[in-house]
């Protein structure tokens, strides 16, 4: 693995007087799952939005497959192979589940029939095929989170950003989603995942990056990070033990 697929280089994002992300740098290798964790308000979603093109970094650069993508719009990045989900799910509520996925499939399959055929495959893969014709608005939360992943997958991305796709699901649904994420990685997709549930993120990630108040306070393997005093302090406070 000569070149990292994603390189975040001294990225900062400032909103007015608030520094949401402060000088964060890390790299990702193709095929790995990197977990991004941190307490509420640590800047995880902001960093996600910078990488996926929704925000421009105030300082620093983001490189994807050797190209500087810091100032590219999201729709361009989607074409480059970056798929993302939203923490607050964004289904096209008035359209059917099939139409939702078909729209995403247009990126690689410009013809309607081909896009629809591809959408069916994605629906099978994500276990939504039986609900293809119902409006996205009437899906359960678990279904909507699945649809969110399905839309990102239909882009046939090489890199996937998953923002809290497990939060709010019951244990069975959680296990099914974890299984799905593993399957994606086995298909060669590199995954950056934000998640609050420690059981999930510790189990699934190859490496972790920990943010606190916009700063990266640790990175490394799950066990290593879990034992890091700075991380324990960020999560549990000063007086631990």
């Amino acid at each position: 693995m000569a070149e990292p697929i994603l390189k975040v280089e001294h990225v900062s994002k400032v909103f007015g007087g608030l520094t949401a992300v402060n000088d964060v740098s890390f790299e990702m290798n193709a095929g790995e799952i990197l977990g991004l964790i941190g307490p509420n308000g640590a800047g995880k979603t902001t960093l996600f939005n910078v990488i996926s093109g929704y925000y421009r970094p105030t300082r620093g650069k983001v490189w994807f497959q050797g190209r500087n993508i810091s100032h590219k719009p999201p729709y361009y990045l989607a074409g480059q192979g970056i798929g993302r989900t939203f923490q607050v799910v964004k289904p096209f509520a008035g359209l059917s589940v099939l139409e939702n996925i078909t729209i995403a499939s247009f990126l690689k399959h410009p013809r309607r029939a081909a896009a629809e055929a591809h959408a069916w495959k994605v629906l099978e893969f994500t276990g939504l095929a039986d609900r293809a014709q119902i409006p996205a608005a009437s899906l359960t939360l678990a279904g909507r989170k699945r649809l969110e992943i399905g839309k990102a997958l239909a882009l046939e991305p090489s890199f996937l950003l998953l923002d809290e796709v497990v939060a709010g699901l019951n244990p069975t649904e959680t296990d099914r989603t974890i299984e799905l994420i593993r399957k994606l990685r086995d298909n060669g997709i590199t995954i950056l995942i934000v998640e609050h549930i420690m059981r999930v993120i510790m189990g699934i990630s190859d490496r972790l990056v920990v943010l606190n108040f916009g700063q990266m306070i640790a990175q490394g393997g799950p066990a290593e990070v879990a034992g890091n005093p700075a991380v324990i302090q960020a999560y549990l406070g000063e007086e631990h033990e």
């Binding site: 929704y54 729709y75 729209i103 309607r112």
Partner: protein
């Protein structure tokens, strides 16, 4: 909505179009032929309105600007430059498209009510411009050459609107474009993540909305032989198109056709036979609209769909809901 029911709707549309082609063979009365011509014109205006309102989720209260621009462009080219009618008409369509580009780039950044206000203001400015400019004849309006052939205008109007319907049907119901527009309508941010450029799509939709509207204007200018800023650039045009689209069913192509025919038919019958109760017309129309917004969120068309596919009441098709929600 399965492809089969879509095909059935296309077949129905073709049959209706064929019936419209044969109409003058049955209707010999010039008055009714004029009524039919204007009804078809309203179908065209409602269709154009629905491209941007129903499919894309932007209520354009300046729709009349495109109609008036088409009117004046065609009339000016015919009267001042002595172009033949069809060439002037085509040029009117092009001018409409270019104005949509110019008006759309700044206004389509706005959302909901702000877009409605901005487009309304732009249309007002266009009307004011037509009132003040010398070459338009100002408030006195201008005459176009007289060609009193009701059949000619009936078929030209039918040709323009029929072509519009089938082109829109292909682009919005068959090609990916329609689904992409709906994605932008439902959630612009999410659409971006899927590789769609909302700005480009909205501008294309705006142009697609403007062209048939300007063409209807061009035919209208030649047909009525006299145009002025009030009749061709007034707010009433957008209001009526909106009412027709909401009444028929937003975000569909058959909805505006049904809405335009029913509303215009109602208006004509009322004015023809009950003109003594003129005041009642607006009251009844208003009540009808209020009732249709409350009880028929999917328009008249929604009734038949709901019955046929057994769709539950709690899942209204989104266009009306989305548009009104955004406006709030």
């Amino acid at each position: 909505m399965t492809p089969i029911s879509k095909d059935r709707r296309l077949i129905i549309s073709v049959v209706v179009f064929a019936a419209a082609v044969l109409l003058p063979a049955v209707v010999h009365d010039t008055f009714w032929l004029r009524v039919a011509t204007e009804a078809i014109m309203w179908v065209g205006l409602a269709l154009g309105f629905d491209v941007i309102a129903g499919y894309t989720g932007y209520l354009n209260f300046g729709h009349q600007a495109f109609f008036g621009i088409g009117c004046y462009a065609t009339a000016l080219l015919m009267m001042r430059a002595h172009w033949p009618f069809f060439l002037a008409l085509a040029a009117g369509g092009v001018v409409g498209a270019v104005s949509a580009l110019i008006i759309g780039i700044p206004t389509l950044r706005l959302r909901g009510a702000y877009f409605a206000i901005a487009t309304w203001a732009v249309a007002r400015a266009v009307q004011q411009g037509a009132l003040m400019a010398g070459f338009t004849g100002g408030p006195d309006g201008m005459r176009t050459s007289e060609y009193l052939n009701p059949h000619f205008f009936y078929y030209v109007m039918l040709g323009v609107v029929g072509l519009t319907f089938f082109v829109l049907w292909f682009l919005l119901e068959r090609a990916p474009f329609g689904l992409k527009l709906k994605a932008v309508r439902e959630d612009q941010e999410s659409a971006k993540a899927l590789g769609l450029n909302p700005t480009h799509l909205k501008i294309k939709a705006f142009i697609l909305s403007a062209i048939p509207t300007a063409l209807c204007g061009g035919v209208f200018a030649y047909w009525v032989t006299f145009i002025d800023p009030n009749s061709t650039l007034g707010d009433l045009l957008s209001d009526q198109a909106l009412v027709m689209v909401i009444f028929g069913g937003m975000g569909t192509l058959i909805g505006p056709v049904v809405g335009a025919v029913i509303i215009f038919g109602f208006k004509t019958v009322f004015w023809a036979y009950l003109s003594a109760y003129e005041v009642l017309y607006l009251i009844i129309l208003g009540a009808l609209i209020a009732a249709s917004v409350i009880f028929l969120p999917d328009g008249v068309l929604g009734i038949s769909f709901r019955r046929r596919s057994g769709r539950a009441k709690q899942e209204p098709t989104q266009p009306a809901a989305a548009a009104s929600g955004k406006e709030a």
